[in-house]
Amino acid sequence: MEVWRGFNMIKKFVVGCFDDEKVLFPAIKNVRRAGYKIHDVYTPFPMHGLDHAIGIRETSLHTAGFIFGITGTATALTGMGWIFTKDWPLNIGGKPHFPLPAFIPITFELTVLFASLGMVWTFCYLCQMMPGVKKHHFHPRATDDLFVLVIECSAKTNESEVAEFLQRNGAMEVNVQEAETGWWFGRYDKEQKLYRYEEVGY
């Protein structure tokens, strides 16, 4: 059932819509317990504990932020150090050529600049968002008042069985859609942990 078109591929998805988060959370739990792969859950507002419930791994955005930050620190210090000691030494009020206290504010600014811009770009990459990138909308009311649970199908998945399963778990509307995944940089497949019974959940 997988059709390749360039780097992206067409996949089948079973889409279940919920109108209550009290129904959504147990449904997610049951879906994971049954072993279906959750593509994503689209909600009208940020929901506390949802990422934990879906079982996606912890984000690596902060590690990226740290690396971007120290890159900024290093850039500022080496840049200013080279300019004021090697390239164009100036006598400014009798201060040393490498006046560390005077460099600290600029070092701080560059650290923040690098970290923030780098993290925004990394975030866009991880979420596959960018101005101009087309994303498939599974349900128009996902930004309004519906919680949309999307399950990814493989070649072996029986869609009608999944749809029935979702309906049993309280979905008020279920349909099967074909959609293109990924984008021009390739894909960021969310690693999903299998549900364990002893897991403290929601």
């Binding site: 009020g93 206290p101 005077a102 600290i104 504010p105």
Partner: protein, 416 residues
């Protein structure tokens, strides 16, 4: 869970031991350091006696007072997450009166004993001959100093007592209904806001000028009070965290989880950076403008290119232990949720800011004769013992959980 905390025998022995060490140190110091010999000649030992007492009584008083401030800011901001361990902060703030009395005895002895080796503005002849000190004498004089100190300490004691009372009164009745809860919270917010104003006007501006900055009477810095505030706030949070971890380890505080610890860790992390920011703001502007009357403060500590200052090592050690270590070690999520690691960091930060106060007080008083031996360590040991003893004593009398606080549920389900 016991409703009241039963102080373990070991804890009692330890705190009593620590307090005995403090008292014995004080007695030995009275015998060996000649505190009453006056400032005639080169009586460095007498100066050392009073300087160490001033440093420690100031530091530990501000540390315990921070607990009340922390409670007030979270109350005014409608923060519910701290309710699960609110009694611990109350217990710590209940030590304020004891510390205030000790502090008052120390500063009144200094002022009325005319220790102008501690506060140069106490010397009338020097003030009359000095244009700068004469200009400041409307502010730096024994009457204003004593009056402001007594009013400040009195207000801290009074408002703190009031807020602790509200908390204890809420235990008397059953769970509050909506209207009662609203009225109770509003009452707390009003008194909390009052305390914040008093705290801002005392710790945030005037009192560090009088108590600490006037040691270097010629020098001035508009950053100084903020710097002192940041120093005491971060170490105060560290003290709260240590007690929270201790009681959690004892099997009390069943609703406190590593989520609460994580938030306390965030406070310590953020305010360590805030402290460093103020440290740097004070240092950099003085370094940059290079005015002799301002640079004197740092020359007394670091020295100059030709002459190494007596406090140079301590000065930079201060920066490493209070800024570099917390920012690097507490940056990740894991360490902030680890009880053992947080205990280590909190002890380190309290020690680090104690060093910070040491290098605030000593260069202006004992000048080039810094000591770091039995007396300097014995006195803080006594204070630590006193704080531990008083906190446990308070908590053995009242329930460890404020069970009727309207925000209790918010604290139980708290999730960072």
């Amino acid at each position: 869970m016991n409703n009241h905390f039963v102080i373990p025998g070991g804890y009692k022995k330890w705190t009593t031991g620590l307090m005995i060490v403090g008292v014995v140190t004080l007695l030995a110091a009275i015998i060996f350091l000649h505190p009453l010999a006056g400032n005639k000649g080169d009586n460095v030992l007498g100066t050392r006696f009073w300087a160490v007492l001033l440093q420690n009584s100031m530091y530990w008083l501000m540390l315990v007072n921070t607990a009340m401030f922390f409670m007030c800011i979270t109350t005014v901001a409608m923060g519910g997450w701290q309710v699960a361990f609110r009694r611990i902060t109350e217990a710590i703030s209940s030590v304020v009166p004891v510390m205030a009395v000790i502090m008052l005895i120390v500063i009144l002895s200094i002022v009325f004993g005319h220790r102008y080796d501690i506060y140069p503005w106490l010397d009338r002849n020097a003030v009359a001959a000095d244009k700068v000190l004469r200009g400041k004498s409307g502010f730096l004089n024994p009457t204003f100093y004593t009056g402001a100190s007594i009013v400040t300490l009195g207000l801290w004691w009074f408002i703190g007592k009031k807020i602790r009372q509200f908390s204890l009164e809420s235990d008397q009745h059953g769970p509050m209904d909506f209207e009662t809860g609203k009225r109770w919270i509003n009452k707390n917010v009003a008194w909390g806001a009052f305390f914040i104003v008093v705290y801002g006007l005392s710790v945030g501006s005037t009192m560090p000028w009088l108590w600490l900055m006037s040691i270097d009477a010629h020098w001035f810095s508009t950053m100084y009070s903020w710097y002192t505030f940041a120093s005491t706030f971060v170490s105060g949070i560290a003290l709260i965290t240590i007690f929270v971890i201790y009681f959690k380890n004892k099997g009390e505080l069943e609703y406190v989880t590593h989520e609460h610890l994580h938030d306390l860790g965030k406070f310590i992390f953020a305010f360590s950076i805030f402290w460093a920011y103020l440290w740097f703001s004070q240092y950099m502007l003085i370094w940059y403008s290079n005015q002799p009357e301002e640079t004197k403060y740092f020359i007394d500590r670091i020295g100059t290119a030709r002459h190494v200052g007596a406090y140079k090592g301590l000065f930079f050690f201060n920066l490493i232990v209070n800024f570099v270590c917390p920012i690097l070690l507490l940056m990740k999520k894991g360490p902030k949720r680890n009880y053992t690691f947080m205990t280590f960091m909190c002890v380190m930060i309290i020690f680090g800011h104690w060093i910070d106060f040491y290098q605030m007080v000593m260069p202006g008083t004992v000048k080039n004769h810094p000591h770091m031996s039995w007396y300097e360590f014995g006195i803080p040991v006594g204070f630590v013992g006193l704080i531990m003893w008083s906190v446990a004593r308070y908590l053995s009398k009242v329930p460890l959980l404020q069970k009727n606080h309207p925000f209790l549920k918010e604290s139980i389900i708290h999730h960072t």
